[in-house]
Symmetry: C2
Subunit: 129 residues, 2 copies
DNA sequence: ATAAAGTCTCCAGTAGCTAGAAGGTCAAGC
DNA sequence: GCTTGACCTTCTAGCTACTGGAGACTTTAT
């Protein structure tokens, strides 16, 4: 498979597949004489793995670790779990932050009548705190 | 006030104050003969306004708009409200996304016993979907 | 007079792509 | 054989909002 084909199958832009190759995340299996990247089914599986990992918000570096563990038959599942747990913590932190923000913003949006007059509690809040 | 003083008062790193000057968000009031940036109280107020806006997640561009509206006495509060409403929508979208993610990750983390054996439902999920 | 602290500009790096330019390659059709 | 078009290559630059550091100048304190 060349890059166009594998991109379609992995449901990733070719640009992204090339980027993953550049950063050494999923390298092409080989190259044709003319320099085209070639990929096999194993690489496809990895790319899909990475797409799903990225969709869960794992960083490229985490993806690298997860991919290594995925490949390593003598892994300890605790290592995988640890990475996922850390991600979960991040998600929870972000959730808490956004929930607070949502409350604040909702309050402000509701307190402003949004007409053609200049009076605005939103601006006042940003100004006076 | 020079940049160090205003940074302290605005509770922003000097680097950031300089950056805001560079992108034309909050420009220094003037310069000394030797080239030092100088700021007055009005600029301080703007910097604090920007810090609070950024803390609410508004982009630099939104901050520019908000600052313009803040300065403009003939503004319509509807314009401010619109910007805040859009931000609220973004926050709500992100919240929904993270809540879904949290559920998925929690499930995975709980399903993995995390011992020294290789079997791992997390990796399986990332592999098989 | 000198040392320390403050400030200046400019360059590079962060994360994870994405867009575009300039060019080489390959298969199909005429 | 030649052209067209789709594909591929590398390289550079841009996105967001800073942040770090180098090298040089200024101000302040002792």
């Amino acid at each position: 498979m060349n890059i166009g084909e594998i991109s379609k199958r992995a449901e990733l832009p070719t640009k992204t597949v090339r980027y993953y190759a550049d950063v050494g995340l999923v390298k092409p299996t080989g190259r044709t004489v003319s320099g085209y990247r070639t990929y096999d089914d194993k690489a496809l599986r990895k790319l899909i793995f990475v797409r799903r990992s990225r969709a869960m918000g794992f960083s490229i570096d985490d993806c690298r670790k997860l991919l290594d563990l995925f490949e390593n038959q003598t892994r300890a599942s605790s290592e995988v779990r640890e990475i996922a747990k850390q991600r979960l913590t991040e998600v929870n932190d972000k959730l808490a932050e956004l929930q607070t923000l949502k409350k604040e913003l909702s309050m402000l949006v509701h307190s402003c009548n949004g007409d053609d007059r200049p009076d605005c509690p939103i601006l006042e809040a940003l100004d006076r705190g």
